[in-house]
């Protein structure tokens, strides 16, 4: 099965090179897509120098839009499985194999990474209890999906599931991750969660981002 890894990247020059190097140990350059979301630093050039496929946004569109573009490009490239992987070095490349396994064996159509299953992630206290836990509760209430984690950038999609979800994705910023979950429920896709390790640094979504996500979701609800 052809696996393509999609990395949404905006001003990730500091970490992206290392992430791509790690990926190249396991995967070929042509199975890695970096969506450069109009970075003002060397993000795009670093990815090009590594020989991976670079999909450049002319205008910055946001995390959700970058994932949509990257996934559509992967579908066009004939991917059977599309893996979403952040470019800031939070995730372990070695765990991609575990993420895609349920799709390869036909058990699931979508696999979501979770920081709160068995593996231990070094999550800062404030982030865990004031951002992630309330976010999980809100998502459970809104979507009715028994998730243990939300807005984890590590995900895997079977080709058919990706074709259903991504062409119609409306949210272009972080709320796109919530829309993906909505689509999983809407299309009755078989999903599973797999424990992943997350390394924390000066990155990820903050409290302000959480409020923006809520605002985007409420706004979309009214203008739908």
């Amino acid at each position: 099965m052809k696996i393509i890894i999609v990395i949404p990247a905006w001003n990730e020059a500091r970490h992206l090179g290392g992430v791509i190097d790690d990926l190249l140990v396991y995967y070929s350059a042509k199975s890695i897509i970096v969506v450069d979301d109009c970075s003002s630093d060397e993000t795009g050039q670093i990815a090009r120098n590594k020989g991976v496929i670079v999909v450049p946004h002319l205008i910055n569109r946001g995390y959700g839009a970058a994932l949509r573009t990257g996934t559509l490009a992967a579908i066009e490239q004939g991917a059977d499985i599309i893996v979403h992987f952040d470019g800031d070095g939070q995730f372990l490349v070695s765990e991609i194999a575990e993420m895609v396994k349920p799709i390869q064996t036909g058990q699931s159509e979508v696999v979501l990474g979770s920081r709160f299953l068995t593996k231990i992630s070094d999550i800062p206290f404030f982030k865990k209890w004031f951002i992630q836990r309330p976010a999980i509760l809100i998502h459970r209430l809104l979507l009715g999906l028994p998730l243990t984690d939300t807005h984890n950038g590590f995900k895997a999609f079977g080709r058919a599931a990706a074709i259903k979800i991504f062409p119609n994705l409306q949210q272009e910023r972080y709320a796109g991750a919530t829309e993906v979950l909505q689509a999983i429920k809407q299309y009755h896709l078989v999903w599973a969660e797999v424990a992943v390790t997350v390394k924390y640094g000066e990155f990820g979504q903050g409290f302000g981002d959480g409020l923006k996500i809520l605002k985007d979701l409420v706004w979309r609800f009214f203008i739908k």
């Binding site: 897509i33 670079v54 002319l58 839009a65 949509r68 573009t69 490009a73 066009e76 272009e172 203008i223």
Partner: protein
């Protein structure tokens, strides 16, 4: 001829010009019928209010507002809020369309690069 009559006349001519413009756009199908009728009715109301100003006082009294001028201000605020909402919706729609174009161009560019390399 009173000053108010001149004012009424100017407003009526202005409304007539707007009607012509709306009807022209409707015939050319540049405007949907729903929106067209809404604007025609809105400008008709403007003319009615200028020719029979007592009507707003009567309506305001029956709605418990008091003065006719207050009623017009309240309606104007509601209409402005609605139009602002419509503008935001349109803006959002355009943003999504821009997103699609950017996505399409990005994928095309990357495939062109791949073709050049191979």
């Amino acid at each position: 001829m009173s000053k108010y009559f001149i004012f009424q006349l100017i407003i009526t001519i202005l409304a007539a010009l707007v009607w012509v413009k709306i009807l022209y756009r409707l015939m050319k199908r540049q405007l949907s019928w729903a929106k067209g009728w809404w604007w025609l009715a809105a400008w008709l109301m403007v003319v009615v209010v200028f020719w029979w100003p007592g009507l707003t006082s009567w309506l305001a009294f029956n709605l418990g507002i008091g003065r006719g001028a207050d009623l017009i201000v309240y309606i104007a605020i509601l209409v402005l809020f609605y139009l602002l909402f419509r503008v935001y919706v349109r803006l959002d729609q355009q943003q999504r369309e821009i997103g699609k174009i950017i996505s399409h161009l990005a994928i095309k560019e990357s495939f062109d690069d791949l073709k050049k390399q191979s």
